[in-house]
Symmetry: D2
Subunit: 210 residues, 4 copies
């Protein structure tokens, strides 16, 4: 699962668009770009578009009855880096993103024999797109939620694109990736890999014995 410096790190990109495949998705595009940057640094990984799977509302690890979360959770637990890629709606994270964060809330109750969450040592990256406004707030909501649930956050862990106020251009409408976003994606990936490698080699110590 976690890896020493010689082993390849793994990443999981959870795309939180509201639209099922095969519809085009700006957040999927940005999520894939983050994965591409991670791959340049030796990470292997995969993209899961959450809404294509029957993930249930809830705050348990398995809500039963065909819930698709346990399968996704297994991939998350096998990864060193979790990328949350979400669109912005009304200036806020998507409901699918919130659904994912709520499912991660279950990790608060899942600890190893040293009292550490299973997510500890994993590193989170946030990728946000909208046609206007909201990226910083979405980053805030996601970082707080994933940090609450055990993930670490490398410097400048958010990458994003939004257009000018009240305009209708989408990220995927661009012929070329906007340069500032490309640079930010590269550095978010570089930092995350560095941090994930350090934490894979030297896990957080558990709580002192009481």
């Amino acid at each position: 699962m976690t890896n020493g410096t010689d082993t390849a790190l793994r990443a999981l990109v959870l795309v939180c668009t509201l639209k099922a495949s095969p519809a085009e998705s700006s957040s999927q595009l940005l999520g894939e770009q983050v994965l591409h940057e991670l791959e340049q640094l030796g990470v292997t990984g995969e993209v899961v578009r959450v809404v294509d799977h029957d993930v249930r509302f809830g705050v348990g690890t398995d809500e039963g009855d065909g819930d698709a979360w346990p399968g996704i959770r297994e991939k998350m637990l096998a990864s060193d880096i979790l990328v949350i890629a979400t669109p912005i709606w009304l200036g806020q994270p998507s409901s699918v993103c919130k659904l994912v964060l709520e499912r991660l809330d279950a990790e608060l109750g899942e600890t190893d024999d040293q009292g550490r969450m299973l997510t500890e040592g994993k590193v989170a990256v946030v990728a946000v797109v909208g046609n206007e406004d909201g990226a910083h707030h979405v980053v805030a909501e996601v970082l707080q939620a994933v940090n609450d649930t055990g993930f670490s956050v490398a410097a400048n862990a958010g990458t994003y694109w939004v257009g000018e106020a009240m305009q209708g251009v989408d990220y995927l409408d661009h012929d070329e990736t906007p340069e500032k976003t490309a640079t930010t994606t590269e550095s978010a990936a570089r930092h995350a890999v560095h941090l994930a490698r350090l934490l894979a080699a030297a896990p957080y110590p558990g709580p002192p014995e009481g």
Copy 2:
């Protein structure tokens, strides 16, 4: 739909718990209490537990294929007061609440012959419960989203209960309604009814002719 002062106002309470009926729900309890206070003031209304219905992810008025939103939307359009009752998860509104707000986003594209959204003249109330922390932020997220989509907000439009930090008491564990929450629920309802009556009798003017 909207009413003069002589006609009874209507309210719709959308309960955004993650748990389907018949599970007990603190947010449903608080939502019902808001409706009870509204009824004391002559309002009639109903409670819809969103997760009991097949509401689809999306930002259209009808996402097709058995989407339950159009039926709920009809009730919303027939109401003067919309109450959003939501639990708190990770200090944030529930994913079901976000799903509802995203569906309301469709109203930005639905205007009458004077260019007014169909939601204009309607008044929103927010009711929030969690076992700890997060109510003010949830109120912020919901007020901004419903105000963006056309709703007006009376003074002190949020009512809530949360327990002490990192404790596990639920709102529905109380034998008696916490007094401050009861008072706040009463005033949120009283203010909303006053504002809804004013706006029913005197709708917002549309944009000036261009």
Copy 3:
């Protein structure tokens, strides 16, 4: 103070830029544009640039020792419409905006003989500018805070401009007001005036006698 429909309404625009006069300020420009739209509708008012005055940190109505808030508070209490105009820093409201909201927090303890806050019946508008991203969240933070402290909120109470992600254009760099922002400013003003007139003519009822 509050006015019947025949009397002119008053507005106060609090500009929350970090920069003292005479530095140019995008938030001051947008605040002035809101006031201009209000004036078209018969409202009289004034703009106060908060950082030009010695407003102290605190949550009282008067923090003493030359605190400039009591003078500004007097203007606020004499107004029917309060416009909070703020820049965005790091995707969030400015510290000066937060200082103003904290001073409004004192109003929770100031009630008339019917138990109503002195701010009740007043209407709030939010005007937000940044060179990129953050407007919706700033609107959320401000609306929640002013609604907590007694203000009502008309439909679509926020107006804003932000540029494309990670670009450096300022609002005041535009030769012409971006059209969508101009339209939004006009409707925020029109709605606020309508609501303020209704509430001036028909104040919220106080709490029932206990």
Copy 4:
């Protein structure tokens, strides 16, 4: 400045209460408790109560004219761990906290010869207190802002205490530290020290040559 594993790490606690010394302050108390836990792990540090110093509004490293920020900034640059300790007002970070975050914004323009911010490699912790509600959101606002400005965030980087909804108990009213908060403070400190040590020994790599 930054240290290898053999050298003691340094911490700076910035207390963002609105009240100047010698008034009692819950956020100062929690900030001191974080420092105490850090000291148990070999870190040395100091507490600065920001409002006791003449820190100016602005987004530069030095706003001139007696601005006290450059002195505080020097301490920050000499530290490996930055603790932001803030009260909650209206469910949001204090204005003094926002002022500090805005001053950190200046670091976006200050890079070393490898294009890295001077804050890179530093680790942030957030400590939040209020008499009710708001801690998660304050953590979100602060984490996003410090992460934007170069800080890394260890697992579970926020510690907090808030009371039950609409009650008036303060953190410093407790005879004993609430146990859950004490545990959370200990783990936030332990994780931060671990991460700061790793990053001191192995700094983030700079951007690839273009």
